[in-house]
């Protein structure tokens, strides 16, 4: 669409990674006199966050526009500098059709998160000021972007680990609930992920030492030649374990609901929207091309775990949405993520073009839709002071349609998108993943995958069931004229973010300007990807074909 020279593209990509890092350091320093605005240093640092993430977003969008769409399989904007010659670790960056959408998604979600925090500063009793918040958010962005942009196994590990410390602090310091709950959830997140990632490191080292290179491009081209079958199986076991924790794959998912329930809104958005994608991206980018034989060995197991995750996630959500279950809306979305990531894993497990494309598509769609859902739940919580479904639904339904029609409508839209309504983004990924399962790669047991397909299809039904129940309980219902305040008063008191609810009339303010600004891009992209899936598939498909040579479907 626009033409830029290779060196400008390189500079853009490097800048997109370096800016948040520099910005994170700068956020800790006092603002220079020229940038001091009204509102004191807290507003200055939040504005700094918006500026930096905005510039990064612009950089990635320009990069996407300048991307040569005629050869999306090729690595573009490539930088390759020696970093640690002793191990032949190279500072190797680049984007191709697989990483570009994720890169833009990350930059977009981080920018929206920064924007949201500017209007609704993450402050309150017991929470530190926004200075550290912005610094951590920017450090998180560096790690997330780097994960998708690096092409060296050691660098990938470094980037993968970089997100841990910022996310830990975001959950433990700025989260919801009592201090002990937050701390426990943050610990669970860090420990699960670290345990997974050190094992992943062993797998990466095994590959690097045996193959003699850490370069992902070279390793992908080699397609596992030079690695024995045993090495490949061990490597996929170790690497896959680490990535499966992050994705998360059932039964390694139990950190996710706690982390999501405790995380602040922007933390949840980034956790669901980007961090989970790092796991599936790693599977597609590393496990699939580098050790195909090992992957083929584990694919049936991966598929089985994936569909169990789909059913498990849906059933957990159904249990949470029941009246009287005391389910938490954020927890429900977290469990629904387990189900959705099950589709992504199923797509990867088929090892076919359609399956892997579906997995990538479903990943991006999940990032958009679940990001939107968490933003909306944040907005609901801000107004009512609660995310408890029973408290929200009250005796006769929360009636968001009647009390805050735009908010209710948008929530219903996001729920329907999440259940995979054709025409919205959630549909295509799951369809393609199931299509891949219908006819898996040669060498994989077709009956097994047909069974998975049937189970997954049942999962879509259950998904539809609980999401519609959520819509019914939260959005529909009579408008209570002078009913008691729906918000659980104890929950409101314990929560610092809550504002005192009006005593008699629970009229809720509808969407505000900054909320439109934060939600509109996600809604627009959800519709765009749903109506015109080719815009993504044209990017991913050629790259996927390169990753899976010799596969015809």
């Amino acid at each position: 669409m626009i033409t830029l020279s290779e060196s400008v593209q390189q500079a853009l990509l490097v800048a997109a990674l370096a800016l948040p890092l520099v910005g994170a350091l700068a956020a800790l320093l006092p603002a220079p006199p020229g940038l001091r605005g009204a509102g004191g240093p807290d507003r200055d640092v939040l504005r700094h966050g918006v500026t930096v993430t905005g510039v990064v977003l612009v950089a990635t969008v320009v990069l996407a526009l300048a991307f040569d769409h005629d050869r999306p399989g090729a690595v573009q904007a490539e930088t390759d500098v020696a970093w640690v010659p002793a191990w032949d670790v190279r500072f190797h960056l680049g984007v191709d059709g697989i990483s570009l959408p994720l890169l833009v998604l990350t930059a977009l979600l981080t920018f929206l998160a920064a924007l949201y925090s500017y209007v609704r500063p993450p402050t309150g009793e017991g929470r530190p000021g926004p200075r550290a918040f912005v610094a951590l958010l920017l450090l998180l962005e560096t790690g997330m972007l780097a994960t998708f942009a690096v092409l060296d196994l050691v660098l990938f590990f470094l980037a993968f680990e970089t997100v841990l410390v910022p996310m830990y602090f975001l959950i433990a310091r700025w989260g919801n609930g009592s201090g002990a709950e937050r701390a426990a959830a943050a610990w669970k997140f860090v420990l699960y992920t670290v345990l997974g990632s050190v094992l992943m490191l062993l797998g990466l080292l095994l590959v690097g030492v045996r193959a003699g290179t850490f370069d992902m491009v070279a390793l992908a081209e080699a397609q596992g030649s030079g690695l024995t079958r045993t090495t490949q199986i061990l490597a996929v076991l170790a690497i896959g374990f680490g990535l499966a924790v992050k994705t998360p794959m059932w039964p390694l998912h139990s950190w996710l609901p706690d982390a999501h329930t405790a995380a602040p809104t922007v933390g949840s958005v980034l956790l669901a929207g980007v961090l989970l994608k790092m796991g599936t991206y790693g599977l597609v980018r590393i496990a699939l091309p580098v050790a195909p034989e090992g992957m083929r060995f584990f694919a049936p197991y991966l598929g089985a775990f994936a569909v169990v995750g789909i059913i498990y996630g849906s059933l957990a959500c159904l249990a949470l949405v029941r009246a009287g279950a005391g389910g938490d809306l954020k927890r429900l979305i977290a469990y629904s993520s387990v189900g959705h990531m099950g589709f992504v894993l199923l797509g990867v497990a088929t090892m076919t073009h359609s399956g892997v494309n579906g997995a990538l598509f479903a990943g991006v769609a999940h990032g958009l839709i679940t990001g939107l859902l968490f933003f909306l739940v944040g907005a609901v919580k801000e107004r009512t002071g609660s995310t408890d479904i029973d408290a929200l639904a009250g005796a006769a339904g929360a009636g968001l349609y009647g009390r805050a029609p735009r908010l209710g409508g948008l929530l219903a839209f996001a729920a329907v998108a999440s259940l995979g309504l054709p025409g919205l983004a959630g549909f295509w990924g799951e369809l393609l993943a199931m299509l891949g399962a219908f006819h898996p790669a040669d060498g994989l047991s077709r009956p097994a995958f047909l069974t998975y397909l049937a189970v997954a299809a049942l999962g879509t039904l259950l998904t539809a069931a609980y999401l519609l129940l959520v819509v019914r309980r939260i959005c529909m219902g009579p408008v209570p004229a002078a009913a008691p305040v729906p918000a659980g008063s104890s929950a409101a008191a314990s929560d610092a973010e809550a504002r005192p609810a009006p005593p008699a009339l629970p009229a809720l303010p509808d969407l505000r300007g900054h909320e439109y600004a934060a939600f509109a891009p996600l809604v627009a992209l959800t519709v765009l990807a749903g109506l015109w899936p080719a815009v993504l598939l044209h990017l991913t498909d050629p790259a996927v074909q390169l990753l899976l040579p010799g596969v015809v479907r």
Partner: protein
């Protein structure tokens, strides 16, 4: 027979300058009036800096001295890259420890009975440092054992030096008795080895011991195993780790930091010299036990560190003590791996990996001790005196730079970004284990890294919590301690940006 030796004084300079400085301090202490004793600190720091500077001209050539007159290939002292690196680490570590001691000594001049006696302290520190600097260059077992004893003998005194301390003498006695036992066992091993090989030179032993008469083979193997005991003790590996927490807790803070880095490095260097230098043919004898010890050591150290309660007395020192046991386990992994690889180049890379890890560990661990010293200094007068982990709550609000530095050091020790160099050092150790086919040990270490993360991150998180009593004004940090923190932090930062500087030793650079 030629009786005249030419001594290469330049090659000998690093330990020699340190030893001369020790004597100068001891003599000067006698003649200086009480008010001027503070100058001794700067003599010590200057001597150590001079010894460090003496490393520079030696960097690019392998010099040897004290060679046999009739066989110039056999030398007792070799200033090769390995020796210079260890000397850099131990002298740098001693320098940082000396800087940390300056505020502790300030009370002594004012008639404070609890303070440290200055002159003796500096003399003992410099003597120990000169032994540690001699050790990595020693190329025969006699020099090696003497150097090891020169390193540790002053350390016993350093531990018990504080007047009026109740725990100090007990800690020193514990340290002394267990250490002497280990040395005695090690000496027995050395004598067995001498019986088998007929020489004390490491290279001669390497050549002769596998060729020893068959009836001596068992003796030789026993000698190899017993010799290791003496060195393993100094590294504080399991089961010779019991002295560590009590000793660190009873010792003055800088001495604990000194022991955790310099003492450990000296033991590690000795172990590396003995295993890969003298017994390369007996890898099957020392490799597997070292691997088991490594796994046990890291597990015991990390689990014990995990159980240290944040508000217990001395918990910060105890935590660092146990964490140093855990880190010793990581340090042993590459040495164990060296016993499993076939060719000498790979064994050399494994030793280089251990050294790279030790360099990282030395800088960040002393950095952590330096921040600890700063907090103790701040809190002096209040009863627990800042030696508890709980005293670090809210440090960021009080002293942002020191808190950021400590967070960085702890994350380096944990091996998490932004502590990039800690992560790379861990990756290097993992790599050596994977390279040598020690998969089980690698998995054990992976679990340990996750366990260790808990207590490092718990401490880090504490730094950024709201302060306990926000009204308290921190005093002016002493210049020497600030310098020590800044030095350690800048080393760790530079290495994080350019890990190649130390990782080069893991891949043929040694």
């Amino acid at each position: 027979m030629n009786l005249i030796q030419n001594v290469d004084w330049a090659a000998l300079a690093p330990p020699l300058v340190t030893a001369v400085a020790a004597v100068v301090v001891l003599v000067a202490d006698l003649f200086l009036p009480a008010g001027r004793k503070a100058a001794l600190a700067w003599v010590t720091v200057g001597g150590l800096a001079l010894a460090l500077a003496a490393l520079a001209p030696l960097w690019n050539d392998d010099r040897t001295t004290f060679c046999l007159a009739d066989d110039p290939g056999l030398c007792s002292y070799s200033a090769d890259r390995f020796a210079l690196l260890v000397q850099l680490l131990v002298l740098g570590g001693a320098l940082l420890a000396a800087l940390l001691t300056v505020p502790e000594l300030r009370g002594a001049g004012e008639g404070d009975r609890d303070g440290l006696p200055g002159g003796e302290f500096w003399f003992l520190l410099l003597s120990s440092a000169s032994g540690a600097a001699l050790l990595p260059a020693a190329r025969d077992l006699a020099t090696l054992v003497i150097a090891l004893e020169v390193t540790t003998l002053p350390a016993y005194a350093l531990v018990g030096l504080r007047r009026g301390s109740a725990t100090g003498p007990e800690a020193a006695l514990k340290f002394f008795l267990s250490s002497v036992t280990a040395t005695a066992v090690g000496l027995l091993g050395v004598s067995f080895v001498y019986a088998g090989a007929g020489s004390l030179f490491l290279s001669e032993i390497a050549a002769e011991l596998p060729e020893a008469a068959p009836q001596l083979a068992t003796l030789a193997k026993a000698g190899v195993a017993l010799t290791l005991v003496g060195f393993v003790f100094k590294v504080a590996a399991v089961p010779f780790h019991f002295w560590v927490p009590e000793t660190y807790q009873g010792a003055p803070l800088p001495v604990a930091g000194y022991l955790s880095v310099v003492g450990k490095t000296a033991g590690l260097a000795g172990l590396a010299l003995v295993t890969t230098g003298a017994f390369p043919g007996h890898g099957n004898v020392w490799g597997p036990p070292l691997a088991v010890l490594a796994g046990l050591t890291m597990t015991v150290g990390n689990v014990a560190a995990l159980r240290v309660a944040a508000d217990g007395a001395h918990s910060a020192v105890r935590l660092l003590a146990w964490s140093s046991v855990g880190q010793a386990g990581y340090l042993l992994v590459p040495l164990a791996a060296a016993g499993f690889v076939e060719d000498g180049g790979a064994a050399r890379d494994a030793v280089g990996t251990a050294l790279a890890y030790a360099l990282m560990y030395g800088a960040v661990n002393l950095g952590a001790f330096a921040v600890l010293a700063l907090v103790v200094h701040d809190r002096r007068g209040t009863p627990p005196a800042g030696r508890r982990v709980a005293d670090f709550r809210g440090l960021f609000a009080e002293r942002p730079l020191a808190a950021l530095a400590l967070a960085f050091f702890l994350l380096c020790l944990a091996g998490l970004p932004p502590g990039v160099i800690g992560l790379f050092a861990k990756v290097a150790v993992f790599r050596s284990a994977v390279d040598a086919g020690l998969g089980v040990l690698a998995v054990v270490m992976a679990l340990n890294v996750a366990v260790a993360l808990v207590y490092y991150l718990r401490w880090t998180a504490l730094l950024f919590q709201p302060a306990q009593d926000p009204g308290r004004e921190p005093g002016r940090p002493t210049f020497a301690v600030s310098t020590a923190i800044a030095l350690a932090a800048s080393v760790a930062l530079v290495l994080s940006g350019a890990p190649q500087l130390i990782l080069t030793f893991t891949g043929g650079g040694l």
